[in-house]
Amino acid sequence: MTAPLCHPERSEGSLRAKSLAATTLQNRALTTDLFQLTLDAPAIAATLAPGQFVHLRLPNPAHVLRRPFSVSAANPEAGTLDIVYQVVGAGTAELSGVTRGASLDVLGPLGRGWRPPVGTRHALLVGGGVGAAPLLPLAQSLPAADVVLGAQTAARLVGHADFAGRVGADHVYITTDDGSAGQPGFATDVTRDLLAAHPYDYVATCGPEPMQRLVAALARAADVPCQVSLERRMACGVGVCLSCVVTTTTGRARACAEGPVFDAAEVAW
């Protein structure tokens, strides 16, 4: 039995979190089930780091739990936060009905974001579906990166134009399971080829967990440091309830406080 771990001293994110009423500036459909929400939340936008998340309270009080979402863009000057979300259940369906001007209760920034090794020059970012969202601000913060985006189908691809704008269109590799866009197949196939062809110094991935696990294994085989962003069912979002634990090599860690971004090497898959 591994000893449980709680590292309050590592959860800097939550310790700087704020709770505020944010005005919805925009909530538009990108495709049938993907939406982009823009919130006016200057106090959160000012300090949010790439890979951190916010916890949104739903308008219907029958939902006792907030919903966690990564931030795809934080603009400190404009004071805004962008979230890209997929409608998967009752809460996200309700969120998709929120109209411009409506107030949403937002808690954040939460958790620990991406921590590329100091001096990272050339990174490889691998996003699956809506998991690409938290990689966008990371791409912005790195000097150079190749980006692999995978999705079931073209309509589930997230952020390809934004990534192209940041790293250059010829550095964005697209795969779809059904071949409706980019190369038919899985993001992990392209990841394998890219890792063999280029000397990356950092790999970051977010998306379905089996994909992240495989990317982590490929990075390990190529001896490149890798970070993953893990989703767990959360209640408090600030580290008190121990709902969202991830089993690590040193015990259990909280996805909302020590994560959601973890060193792949410390995750006990």
């Binding site: 771990l5 959860s11 704020k18």
Partner: protein, 289 residues
């Protein structure tokens, strides 16, 4: 006006429901952004602490239900030594009474945790969790049998002179039987209710969402069950009661006090809004505002 819970004096009737507030550090940081100190609370009730570290349960640990929450955390905690070194050391600086929530697999474990915590001046009282549905040995097993409830209460009573609160489960035929057994064995006060046993199934597979099958239901969905339990126990025993179960609004607080509770605890509503307790305290302090 102060509140007395079996010898524990509180400046107001509000505490945290164990397991929903950690030891207070994270929420205190959030509250500080609005200039609210941790000691607006009557007391902090800590996450359950056991003699040795417990890893908690595998698999999914929470699921939302209509106006409720199912959890199967399994009392994950770092053990009493780490609790003293980290959590209590910090709480000692916060000028707030601390109710330590105690868990165990066996009678002797509960008493041993209390003997260790009795050396810590930062602890004001104990709350015995004999009502958690999420662990196999111990936990709720003590809370569904009056003989076992009396024995563990007596063992802890012998270990401390501090106020001893016993936390009851609603998952029994007659909660007043357990309440009387605990009071007769030396409980100074009772807390009620712990979570209601419940099940969630995965719509795709028809299999239980939680690895242990059973999980504990909390939140507004259980308020009527909790209120009924408080009213019945109030009629059956003379000790003060800490009422909890779904408390979210000022009206909920008034209902529990009217049903016979001397104090109240807020749990799940802190997840919905981390400022629930400060809001309820402000409303109680200045009813007109």
């Amino acid at each position: 006006m102060t509140i007395n819970i079996g010898g524990l004096t509180l400046k107001n009737p509000f505490t945290t429901a164990s397991g929903t507030f950690g030891s207070g550090r994270e929420l205190a940081a959030l509250w500080a952004e609005r200039g609210i100190p941790l000691n607006v609370l009557g007391a902090v009730t800590t996450k359950g602490v056991s003699l040795e570290p417990w890893p908690g349960n595998d698999g999914v640990r929470v699921a939302e239900t209509a106006s409720g929450l199912l959890n199967s955390i399994g009392l994950q905690n770092p053990g009493v030594e780490a609790f003293c070194a980290k959590d209590l050391a910090w709480l000692a600086t916060q000028d707030v009474p601390v109710i330590a929530n105690v868990s165990g697999h066996a009678e002797a474990d509960y008493a041993a945790v209390i003997r260790r915590l009795d050396r810590e001046p930062a602890v004001s009282a104990y709350e015995l969790n004999i009502s958690c549905p999420n662990v196999d040995s111990g936990g709720m097993a003590f809370g569904v049998d009056p003989v076992a409830a009396a024995r563990v209460t007596a063992a802890c009573r012998a270990a401390t002179a501090r106020p001893l609160i016993v936390k009851l489960t609603p998952n029994v035929t007659d909660i007043t039987v357990i309440a009387r057994a605990a009071v007769d064995a030396g409980a100074d006060a009772l807390s009620l209710i712990n979570t209601v046993a419940g099940l969630a199934l995965d719509p795709q597979t028809g299999q239980p969402v939680f690895d242990r099958g059973v999980a504990g239901l909390s939140g507004p969905a259980i308020k009527p069950i909790a209120l009924y339990a408080v009213a019945r126990v109030h009629a059956a025993v003379a000790v003060p009661l800490i009422g909890m179960g779904g408390i979210t609004t000022g009206q909920d607080v008034r209902d529990f006090l009217a049903a016979g509770a001397t104090a109240v605890a807020v749990g799940t509503a802190t997840f919905t809004d981390p400022f629930t307790l400060p809001r309820l305290i402000a409303e109680w302090t200045h009813p007109s505002a």
